[in-house]
Structures are given as structure tokens and as C-alpha cells.
Point group: D2
Chain length 157, copies 4
């Protein structure tokens, strides 16, 4: 478990998956679309499996689907960094740029936290179509972190 200093090697993918599964089972309603591939202190890598319902005409992935992946991936990096205390973190701001039309393939989000303060965490998510070099979307998300005294509270997400 993370200490007060919040600096440690982080939870791995399976540990984050277990925590989220316990607190947010409904996130997987409709099938396990998002797969945590890697996690660690201040970082995460999440795959969105190609599914028909995420596609737009022409076979491309929809904007809301990319938003969902970016938001979730930053959340994964926060939990990997803070442990169970991160579960109650909530998004306060997300800015996303859609850069190129994604291919009708899996999407990969690569996240790093660029700020981890006492009250706010800021993460950057880079989204790629599997096997392609060019970024299809870029997002910056800010999460409000639970105050230490509130860490026992029910998740407010």
C-alpha cells in the first residue's frame, strides 16, 4: 500500500483490474472492452478491443469511445499510483484533440501522469490505432483526488 509520500513502484495491471472490478463492476457491462495491459507508478497502457458498437460509418472509432478510453486510462494510472485511495478520484476536466481518423482496429492508450499533487492529478493520454505510428487522439485529464480524511468514503465517481 502506498505511504503518505505517494511515491512507490505502483500497482500492476492485475492489481488495478481487481480493484476496479471490485468497486465498479458495471464498467464492464456489455463485455470487457477495455483491457489494462500495463500499469505502474504514474503510468498505464490500456487497449480498447474493436467492437461493432464503437464504429462509425467507414469503420472508424467514434469520438465518445475515444473519450471513454482516454478518461479510463488516466484513471487506471491514478489507481496504479495511489492504490485503493485513487478509486474515489473524479474527473474535473478533460481536453481532447482528435488528430486522425482511427483505423477499424484496437485502440491503444498510453498514459503518464504529468502532475500528482495533494488535491489534483493531471494525466496525458496518447491514443494510437494498433500497429500505427501516428497518434489518433491526444487528451489531458485532470482528476480531483479524495482528501485523506475522506478516503474511507464511498466512491463518488
Amino acid at each position: 500500500m502506498p505511504g503518505n509520500d505517494r511515491v512507490w513502484s505502483g500497482l500492476d495491471a492485475a492489481q488495478v483490474e481487481a480493484l476496479i472490478g471490485r468497486h465498479f463492476p458495471q464498467i464492464h457491462v456489455g463485455g470487457r472492452a477495455m483491457l489494462i495491459e500495463e500499469a505502474g507508478a504514474q503510468r498505464a497502457r490500456v487497449r480498447l478491443k474493436k467492437q461493432e458498437r464503437h464504429l462509425r460509418p467507414g469503420g472508424t472509432v467514434s469520438g465518445p469511445t475515444m473519450f471513454t478510453l482516454a478518461d479510463f486510462s488516466v484513471y487506471v494510472a491514478i489507481i496504479a499510483t495511489l492504490g485503493e485511495a485513487g478509486i474515489a478520484a473524479v474527473t474535473t476536466n478533460l481536453n481532447i484533440n482528435f488528430l486522425a481518423k482511427p483505423e477499424p482496429r484496437d485502440l491503444i492508450a498510453v498514459v503518464r501522469l504529468i502532475r500528482l499533487g495533494r488535491r489534483l492529478a493531471v494525466g496525458e493520454a496518447q491514443l494510437f490505432s494498433e500497429g500505427a505510428a501516428d497518434m489518433v487522439a491526444h487528451a489531458i485529464a485532470t482528476y480531483a483526488l479524495p482528501s485523506p480524511s475522506a478516503s474511507g468514503a464511498a466512491p463518488s465517481r
Copy 2:
């Protein structure tokens, strides 16, 4: 139909609904969650019907659901303003601030376009829980507009 000057009274809700239904029938897969209540030149009002799958623990509406509503509502205002030519518009940037936890009720998005250029449109979406005065989320979305020569092209959204 809008002329070259792109200034007119706009399509109404039923006309926009018909255009979107013809070009994007898949947007309503899973039930008609989003209802266009009002539309006109540079403005729109869209209701997201409360549905179990949009809810988070505690009964609140999820962030991705609010993103989807904001993005779609700005799109509605663009089509109401530009007519069929607006169908091919694509989101390039969306910045959303989550301000308060929404109630487990319908969500209402009120949109106005604050810029309508030749190549870009910028819309502001204010989201409210039905019957409540405080905004629950605020979004600014930029859409790239199709160039006139490409207006006959298949929608690239």
C-alpha cells in the same frame, strides 16, 4: 436550404432529426436516448433520457455519457445552421469541465455556436440536470467543417 452566406433561420428539431436518422441510424442503437428538443440557427437543446446503463454508483450520470451528450448537441446545432452540409462536420477538439454530480434524472444540454467560420465552428454546451438551476458540466467543442468542394462526399464522422 442554406445559401452561401450561411445565415438563415435554421432547421428545426424534426428536420435535424430526420437528417441525422438518414445519415447516422446507428447513433440510436440501444434505444433513442438523445432527444432533440429544439434547434435553430446556431442553437440546439437536447435531452438525454435517464437510462440505467448511463448511471454510476450513487445514481449519477457518467462522464463519458456527458461527453457524448455535449458532443452530439453541438453537432445538432451545426446541422441546424448549415443544413445537410453540416452532416460531414467532425469534432477536432472538445474541452469539458465537470462541475457537479448530476442527479439521476434526465440531462439537458443547451448549445449555442459562438463561432461559425468557413472552416471551423465552435459551440458551447451547458449541461443541467432536469429541473435544477446549477450547471453540471460545461463543454466547448470545435468542429472542422467540410470544404464546399467536398460537400458531396460521404460523411467522414
Copy 3:
């Protein structure tokens, strides 16, 4: 002075001006370019006087100048709302859209706070060229508010 509930009629323009002048005299180095015209709970109106050094070729106002006006105006609304406790607020995020080329005239920023939480305030700034109806820029700024225990601390802005 504001009580714990942070809901009151707010400081007026002269009171905010006096507070800022006392804590940030250097903001006016180079001349009093920014004039607080109105202030009150959750709102402000600030004028940027036309000055040669803010102009770009063609007589238009520069982007950094509009950023400065937007950021400052939201800060004014926070101080008008929170009183002296607001002085220590710091910008954490600012998203600005440049919508039209401003005229070589005074710029007016109209601000309202759309969220005032315990830890974060979010303000919207609409910028206009004096006497013109179309918005030239639109900004959303998030400020971190000082925690009550830190309210006696030196401004960290």
C-alpha cells in the same frame, strides 16, 4: 467579509481593485492597462485599454494579451466572491478559443463563475471588442482555491 458559506453579494470593483493593488502592485507595471469596471458575487467585467504594445500588425490585439485579460478577469470574479481569501487562488488550467480578429480598440471581458467549490473555482470569460456584438475569444479557467487552514499564507500566485 465572506463567511464560511461563501455566499454573499460580493465585493465591488473598487474593493477588488484595492485588494489587488495591495497584494500585487506589480500587476500594473507599465501602466494601468486593465480596468475593473464591475464586480460582484461570481461575476466581473474588466476593460483592457488599447495600448500600442498589445497590438499586432494590422492593429489587432495579440493572443497573449487576450489570455492575460481572461485570466485576470476570472481572478477578479473570484476575489469579488471570496474576498481577501481569494487572493491566494492560482490558475491550474485555462482553455482559450480565439474566435475572431479583435478590432484595434478596448477589449471587454465579461466573466461569470460557473463553479465555486471548496477547492476549485471555474470561471467563463467572454471577450468582446468594445461596441461589437461578436465574441472575439472565449476562455474557461480553473483556479485552485487556498485551503482554509492556509488562508493566512503569503500569496503563492
Copy 4:
């Protein structure tokens, strides 16, 4: 000069400096605060020299100063990539996150373009205090690129 494909090795720092100096001599009014250290296709590195007028109480660099550096640095990367045609590019959106209080030292902006389309370029700027590892601010800027037919027009920036 760049060809139609817009893929080349880019202008170097001295070439970009010369172009900007020719088109925007007023950018250096008040002293040459911003120094282009490196430039090339889709990238730039710019130093903001520490100056008294940019400082806030406690010796920290102001938010507007960081905005100015981020905006300018992305502009440098665009010119390095597009050559003289890039001069007429104008900022349409800038999103900046302030992550940590900068030291009273030089600031370094490291930029890469993450999208270079026909009509829009998107650049990411990471800002650091000289010699420090942690980012002090992060910005994403979108520029509208001049249309080829308008490339002979006067800069509208």
C-alpha cells in the same frame, strides 16, 4: 522551401529566427526575451530568459508569461516545418495546465507537432525550469494554417 508534401527536414533555429524577425520585429520589443535554441521539422526548443518583469511575488514566473512562451514555441515549430508559409498561421485554441510553481530561472519549452493537417496543426509544449526534471506547465495549441491560395496574403496573426 517545403514542397507540396510538407515533409522535409525543416528550417533550423537561425532560419526561423530570421523569418520571424522579418515579419514580426515587434515580437522583440522590450528585449529579446525568447531565444530559439533548436528547430526542425515538427519540433522546436525555445528558452525564455529570466526577466524581472515576468516575475511574481516569490520569484515565480507568471501564467501569462508561460502562455506566451508555449504559444510562441508551437509557432516556431510550425514555421520550422512549413517555412515562410507558416508565418500566417494563427492560434485558434490553446489549453494550458499549470503543474508546478516555476523557479526564478530561465524557462525551456520543448515542442513537437502531433498533427500537421492541411488546415490545422496541433502542437504540444512541455515547459521546464532550467535544470529541473519536473514539468511546470503543459500546453496543447491548435493553429489554423493559411490555405494555399491565401499564402501570399499579409500575416493575419
